[in-house]
């Protein structure tokens, strides 16, 4: 049975408004061409996109939930990266 299960692909769609491709879900297909065709039918039935990327799920490397602290904690203390860290005098405009 498993011999015939088609591989899983992750689908990314770019909408009409010039934004980056966004992950929308996944589907099974035997090869990349069929993955694009299936993605057209499964994820763009209502003009949701103008471009499709497909990537084999097995080829994605992801960070693991356990790495959350070492990866993302360091940014927490760097509040000066946000403009709101620098209060501006009221009389100064356009800044």
């Amino acid at each position: 049975m498993n011999r015939t299960e088609w591989p899983l692909w992750e689908i990314f769609i770019r909408s009409q408004h010039g934004l980056a491709h966004k992950h929308v879900g996944s589907l099974h297909a035997p090869d990349p061409e069929m993955a694009v065709k299936n993605a057209r039918d499964v994820y763009t039935r209502r003009n949701e996109g103008v471009s499709i990327w497909v990537i084999r799920s097995a080829d994605i490397t992801a960070s693991s939930p356990g790495e959350k602290e070492p990866l993302f904690e360091p940014a927490n203390s760097k509040v000066y990266r946000h403009p709101t860290f620098f209060p501006m005098p009221d009389e100064v405009k356009h800044i």
Partner: protein, 331 residues
Amino acid sequence: MYAQMVDTGAKRVRSLDELSPEERAFQERIDADIKIEPKDWMPEAYRKTLIRQISQHAHSEIVGMLPEGNWITRAPTLKRKAILMAKVQDEAGHGLYLYCAAETLGVSRDELIADLHSGKAKYSSIFNYPTLTWADIGAIGWLVDGAAIMNQIPLCRCSFGPYSRAMIRVCKEESFHQRQGFDIMIRLCQGTPEQKAMAQDALNRWWWPSLMMFGPPDADSVHSAQSAQWKIKILSNDELRQRFVDQTVPQADFLGITMPDPLLEWNDERGHYDFGPIDWQELFNVVKGNGPCNRERLSARVKAWEDGAWVREAALAYAEKQAAKAAKQAA
């Protein structure tokens, strides 16, 4: 609902201090409305319950294509045919979004489908009723998709990320389904007396099964409590059912047809409609496999799967051959 009577494996809901530290941290995340993602730690029972619930939901979308597909070739006009095809195609899409969400929990598509075909996994009881006339297509869109929306909108807020995201996509598409059904009902009810009688007959047959879609009464459901704590069930069966009745009765009034329930009556004090007792024996019977179309539905699915096997194998063989060719050229 599309997922009825999902077993959680729990006899009762445990309090926070009865949980292991991991389970407690998990429950606290859920209580704080933080989504659980596939790679996060989760209790085995949560994972198993979700696989049951999401796959049951997916199977319902797929099996649900059969009663409506029955009328595609006999739709009264080309426009109605095109609309019905688009609607049924959406249901295929819904099934696929949901299967993918279930697969993030570590189960394969083939296993899910094998469980449907062996009868181990269930699908919604509603799809075991026959579509006898064109009016049934109207009644299904209006009532069955209407009930589905009622259930699915709260699920957009459920605790499991992939399920919640799939529900958001599904909900965006459902209101077209309900409206096209109601549009069919309007046309029939404004038509000849025979057409209106057909609409009434469809309502008579679909009303009670639609109310059963929400599952047994809250009092009889220990699994609901666990699912509510995990936030994979947001509103109770009875709450959803009442909302559905309250919303649907005025729509029937507009059509000029009546629910087949002599006890149905507005209750000023409660601010809700009262309605007559539901024949739960009928629901249990259908869920057990003895509804009017259970055998037909399942055998249609199995046949489609078996007849399509050579296509799946050929496509894979072709892909493997192409990949080998490409590798050879690159070498």
